[in-house]
């Protein structure tokens, strides 16, 4: 019996039990659709994060204290912070660097009359806004005067503006921050919610000098943010920073750095890894549901073999060999599972479109995952079809015919 004939037989057998065939494939449909939606969401998120990171400016670098353990490394605590002299040295020595800004962050409570709001406070140099390519929607950014005078002036995000001043114009208004009163000179350009669900407009910027004097009570700098002259010179800038900082921090040749120059590409990679791991985990869950779907198919195929024992007997009586019977049931299982795979791809694609629109993610259809999921569903059909098909093929003709 040739393959096309078998395929025709399988399809007509499945059509005879339309509803059941459809329900049987459901497990595989859900599995495949889940794989595709997960992959699409993962790819969409990665795409979004990548876009967001490149919006930081791809030529932005961050210098943080601490060794190779990274931001969370063990040597962070013991490694010395930076100073204003470091900032000046970088500006002076590193010609691949364009702007330099100190950066420190704390959580604070801000109060205006009855209203109070908890937010993130950043102490930054005036160059910060140029580095982040961040402008203001109202008023002005912090400037050199603010920095030099350690002025009690600030730029606030839209969320803070709404929380404290409601619909009123916040410019030149005052509010209490920590233990002093502060004047609003600008409202930062709205950025919306980040890929990780953070409200990027919920913040207050103070001049770094004010931040140090009034909040930290110290002159140290937690991290230095830098933009390079051009994206092409990023590696050069990293090198210059490294050798300068090693020299300034008196690290002997051969000893490890007690600081680290972070590059946005690196952050991007790290985030990529995180979303990659998540995607893999979710895909694993989806794969398990595919296997469960396969077991569903096996179950129904076993029922079908039992129900159709007499049919098998008749087929054997008129000349079917056991391999013909095996082929018939195996192909039926494969048609079922690949039908499920196909429906799953269609539904998964549809769902991906809907979900990515709802979550405002870029639509990234995972064509490779579609192919793999479909191939996997076929494989599931073979694996879980073999057992019922062998059961059918091993029947002895007379016993099958006599089966009640």
């Amino acid at each position: 019996m040739n393959l096309i004939t078998s395929l025709g037989l399988a399809v007509s057998a499945l059509l005879r039990n339309r509803m059941r065939s459809l329900l049987t494939t459901l497990g595989v449909v859900i599995g495949v659709a889940a794989v595709i939606v997960m992959q699409a969401m993962g790819a969409g998120t990665t795409e979004l994060v990548t876009a967001e990171i490149s919006s930081f400016g791809s030529n932005m670098l961050v210098v943080v204290p601490g060794g190779d353990g990274g931001m969370f490394g063990g040597s962070l605590l013991s490694a010395p912070l930076f100073s204003d002299a470091d900032l000046e040295a970088i500006t002076r020595e590193c010609d691949a660097v364009r702007y330099v800004s100190a950066s420190g962050t704390r959580s604070v409570r801000v109060v205006k009359g009855e209203k109070s709001h908890s937010t993130t406070l950043s102490g930054v140099s005036p160059a910060y806004f140029a580095i982040r390519e961040w402008s203001t929607d109202a008023g002005r950014a912090l400037n050199e005067d603010d920095e030099r005078q350690a002025a009690k002036r600030c730029v606030i995000g839209h969320t803070v503006a709404t929380e404290l001043f409601g619909g009123q114009d916040p410019l030149d208004q005052e509010f209490r921050l920590h233990d002093f009163t502060c004047t609003v000179v600008g409202v930062a350009e709205a950025k919306g919610t980040s890929a990780f669900g953070m409200d990027q407009d919920d913040l207050v910027f103070l001049p770094h000098s004010t931040f140090n004097r009034r909040i930290l009570g110290d002159t140290k700098i937690g991290s230095i943010i830098i933009s390079t002259v051009s994206a092409e010179r990023t590696d050069e800038a990293i090198q210059q920073l490294q050798s300068l900082m090693r020299q300034r921090r008196r690290i002997r040749p051969g000893d490890e750095d007690d600081f680290r120059v972070r590059d946005m590409r690196e952050v991007q990679e790290m985030l990529g890894n995180v979303t990659g791991v998540l995607t893999t985990l979710l895909a694993g869950v989806a794969a398990i549901s595919l296997i469960v779907g396969g077991i569903g198919i096996m179950n129904i195929m076993l029922v079908s073999v039992t129900e159709r024992t007499r049919e098998i007997g008749v087929r054997m009586a008129v000349g079917a060999r056991s391999r013909d019977i095996l082929q018939q049931f195996l192909i039926e299982a494969m048609v079922l599972s690949s039908l499920g795979g196909l429906l799953g791809v269609l539904i998964g694609t549809g769902l991906s479109v809907v979900v990515s629109r709802a979550l405002e993610l870029p639509l990234m259809l995972p064509f490779k995952a579609m192919l793999i999921a479909f191939a996997f569903s076929l494989l599931v059909g073979v694996i879980f079809g073999v057992f019922p098909a062998r059961k059918a093929a091993r029947l002895r003709p007379i016993e099958a015919l006599r089966y009640e």
Partner: protein, 271 residues
């Protein structure tokens, strides 16, 4: 010590056997030949001796009826002849070839090309058109689709079902269903049709129609028919009548007017 006459008798016997064997070689072997065939179902105390040594030869072109009490082993023998089941002991030959030694796939091919089955319960595939049912043996014979359809339509026409090719079993009467089954049995040009109570589920008028078709297949196409029945009127369509009792053949007679020779039943021969 052996006497001279013993030795002479032995020589005679050898010679006789040689002559017999030569005679057998010259004669074409019968289509079917069963020698000492037994069938035991189950084991030990639960064992059922369905066949207790059946000897029978059936020549090509015969129309044989098998009768006997319920449980006497008729269906059991039919299943063995049809290569659906194997004998416990004894020899079953088809055209001289020992069937019991053939592998399952060869038996399947044998059923496909040389034997057609007709069952009491029709055994058609449910929710399947009559044409598709009739095509079944051709599928396993590897006949191409167009040829299959042509042959199936021809076979259905031969049993008077032209025009009902697309009807499924639930849309056909019992008699029509049995005709579909006959069409399926003859579509691949078998030499032998095995019918186990083909009219068992049908009224007498429909039975007569079915028997007319079977008789025509035997007379006009020379297909050998072996048919089990409980009905003497149905058995009368056959030319040779075998009676079973308790797993053995009790009598085996041929209608004189058709074949012209009356054979003695095995018991009489042995006596």
């Amino acid at each position: 010590m052996r006497s001279r006459s013993d030795a002479a008798a032995e020589l005679d016997a050898i010679e006789e056997r040689a002559i017999e064997e030569r005679a057998i070689e010259e004669r074409a072997p019968p289509l079917l030949s069963l020698r000492g065939v037994t069938k035991v179902y189950g084991q030990g105390d639960a064992a059922v001796h369905a066949l207790r040594g059946v000897d029978i030869e059936i020549e090509a072109g015969e129309f044989v009826s098998i009768q006997g009490t319920s449980g006497s082993g008729k269906s059991t023998m039919m299943n063995i002849i049809g290569c659906l089941d194997a004998a416990t002991a004894g020899e079953y030959r088809m055209e001289g070839e020992l069937v019991s030694e053939l592998p399952p796939d060869v038996l399947a091919a044998l059923r496909n090309s040389r034997i057609g089955f007709i069952f009491q319960g029709f055994n058609l595939l449910r929710r399947t058109s009559s044409a598709a049912n009739v095509e079944l043996p051709l599928i396993y014979a590897g006949v191409p689709r167009i040829e299959r359809t042509r042959k199936a339509y021809a076979a259905l026409a031969a049993v008077g079902l032209a025009g009902r090719e697309r009807a499924t079993s639930s849309e056909l009467s019992g008699g029509q269903q049995q005709r579909v089954a006959i069409a399926r049995a003859l579509v691949n040009d078998p030499e032998l049709i095995l019918a186990d109570e083909p009219t068992g589920n049908l009224d007498s008028r429909t039975s007569a129609e079915i028997m007319d078709i079977l008789t025509a297949l035997n007379r006009e196409r020379g297909i050998t028919i072996v048919m089990v029945t409980h009905d003497q009127e149905i058995a009368d369509y056959a030319d040779r009548h075998v009676f079973f009792h308790d797993g053995q053949i009790r009598s085996d007679t041929r209608d004189r007017d058709r074949v012209g020779v009356e054979r003695r039943a095995p018991e009489e021969r042995r006596a």
